[in-house]
Amino acid sequence: MPEMQQIFAGIAWNDGGWIELAATLIRAVIIVLPVILLMAVYTWMERRQASFMQDRIGPTRANIAIAGKNITLFGLLHLMADGLKFVFKEDIVPSKANKLLFFLAPILALAPVVIVFVVIPVGGFFAYSHWDQVLTADQVKAYAMTGDAFRLQASQLEIGVLVIFAFSGLGVFGASLAGYGSHNKWALIGGLRAAAQMVSYEVTLGLTVVGALLLYGTLEPMAIANWQGHNIARWGIVVQPIGAILFLAAAIAESKRIPFDIPEGESEIIGYNLEYSGMRWGIFFMGEYMELVFVGAMFATIFLGGFHVPLLHADGFRLGSHHLAMPHIAVVLVQMLAFWGKVVLLGFLQIAIRWTLPRMRYDQLMRLGWIGMLPVSLANVMVTAILLLVFTSYNWNMGNYWIASLLVTLLVYLLVVAPQQTKTDEDNVAHDEAHSHGSH
């Protein structure tokens, strides 16, 4: 990574290095602080949203009494109560546990999820010396080339998406080592399940993105976001609908949440984190909720246009001949807000899915992964490749690709799904009658 060499060389030789280091720190704060905040807010959102979905009102107990009134802040104080509880709770280590693995597992579960945010762009380039001017996209690009703009992405790597997969793949070590090191059979079963599940769905997760990456022609997340841009017809969810749905499903499986939570399996094996208590357990769940943020950020970047807002160009909103000019700083702020807004919306969706579906059985999970989602994602890659070949060889406008992709989705539905739906209840009833006749 030449950039890292630059940074450290700069520290040694001149003041420019310090500026670069400060910029890196600012980037880290801009990107990681919202992630940590969102993680904490998600724990509240999970309870609150789940309770409204189940006709309850959720957390009401944690409160601060001010002038005889109990202030509960909609249950937000439970965050503080949880944190205090985790920190002061007794930390029990099983006497026969492998101390090293037991100690390493929570770190291995949390760290990779934080690292992947390095390559996620929360905004474009911020040309700070021209913050009050109306800049066009070309001008911003020019300032970015001359180094006169601040990149709202911690690290711009050409292999960005691969970095994400590499590090999120490490997450499996956290779960399986926790199960292995706990010296507990249930935890071991949980760890093994986690390993099997995450390895299976990693394949689908990677393959579902391949279709989208073929279109974008790049692995660099900011370039991916810029390819989609302000035109909603180019967003990943429109040009790759099947890929988007499969990606969301596989990503939820990767984050080990219901309906894919068999590694945890509260009602049967309690899970790989069975022997953990106090803050160690808390770190596992910090990891889980960060993964919620991470899945949202990934999905937003690859399939929802990243930080881009529909109709928002670099110089303001444009619709037809109407133009609402906006200074550069306003555009950048709106784009950053839009990115985190998308992440929160996807978090809402993931929590809603969690509190809607029951847990899958192990065999259902494996069947869905290997003979359901994997072939479909492979077919998606093939169809995308063929369509892309047609579009590029005839020089068709990629802005119209969405029509082709919607046609393909419709075709898949008509050829595969619809014929099955013509089957009625009658077959089943007849089948059942035959059985009841035979039984007496």
């Binding site: 409204f52 006709d55 089957k423």
Partner: protein, 258 residues
């Protein structure tokens, strides 16, 4: 049963069902339907609106501050005002409108929430078979009905009942002695650890004398000390009452029989 048709409620295993996507969508429709019917009733819309309007005012001030700070902002100030002031103000007015609509509409807004603010306000109704705190029933002379047979402490799965049996005091004179009756035991100590109790009610089922009951309709109270959760005999009898049950097959006045 010949010809009986069983109505199947399980969905057909078509590809549409097995692909999970459509069914997940249906399920989300139901649960999110509940969410969006319950959630608005718990949002302080007026407060949200006021906060948003304040934010809009701050945003307008920020926009003007930016303009004067830069000193060279020629175009785009309208866009700045719209983004920082207009959007929050619009959202705030929407929230105020929602709040006013919810407050002044003729019929109260529909929600699935049926709330009992339970631990803050005591429940106003306990079903007759609600298992509350234990109590020990009295005889007509006010003594405890328990005969220390150990049935309850034996059946207790949580092992939370501790009984120490003693002999009943001899009657004043031989002539008042009722053979086979006065040679009974009574509990010197009768303690229930309510922290260990799993509220299964088996002790009540096991009691042959209608001595122990859980029909006090009193929810187990939270105390600061663990010792306070161990209820002794006197405390259990405080909630007790005279039982109307027939003991010994003689009716309520059996003790005065001669």
């Amino acid at each position: 049963m010949p010809g009986r048709t069983v109505k199947l409620t399980a969905p057909d295993r078509t590809a549409a069902v097995q692909s999970y996507v459509l069914e997940t969508g249906k399920g989300l429709g139901i649960t999110l339907g509940h969410f969006f019917k319950n959630w608005p009733s718990r949002v302080p819309w007026i407060g949200v609106g006021v906060v948003a309007l304040l934010a809009a005012a701050g945003g307008v001030a920020l926009a003007f501050g930016m303009k004067s700070f830069s000193g060279r902002m020629t175009s785009g100030f309208t866009g700045l005002l719209v983004m920082f002031g207009g959007v929050p103000a619009g959202l705030g007015l929407l929230a105020l409108g929602a709040g006013a609509y919810r407050k002044f509409r003729a019929t109260p807004a529909e929600t699935y929430l049926r709330l009992v603010p339970y631990p803050d306000v005591p429940a106003d109704y306990y079903p007759p078979r609600y298992r509350g705190e234990h109590r020990l029933m009295h005889r007509e002379d006010g003594s405890v009905r328990c005969v220390s047979c150990m049935m309850c402490s034996t059946v207790c799965p949580a092992d939370c009942i501790n009984i120490v049996a003693g002999n009943a005091a001899d009657p004043p004179s031989d002539s008042e002695k009722v053979p086979g009756v006065d040679a009974e035991k009574f509990p010197v100590r009768f303690e229930i650890d309510e922290l260990r109790c799993v509220v299964c009610g088996l002790c009540v089922e096991a009691c042959p004398c209608d001595a122990i009951r859980m029909d006090s309709s009193v929810h187990v109270t939270a105390y600061a000390n663990r010792q306070d959760f161990v209820f002794d005999r006197n405390r259990l009898m405080e909630r007790g009452d005279q039982s109307q049950a027939v003991q010994g097959g003689h009716g309520p006045g059996w003790r005065t029989l001669s």
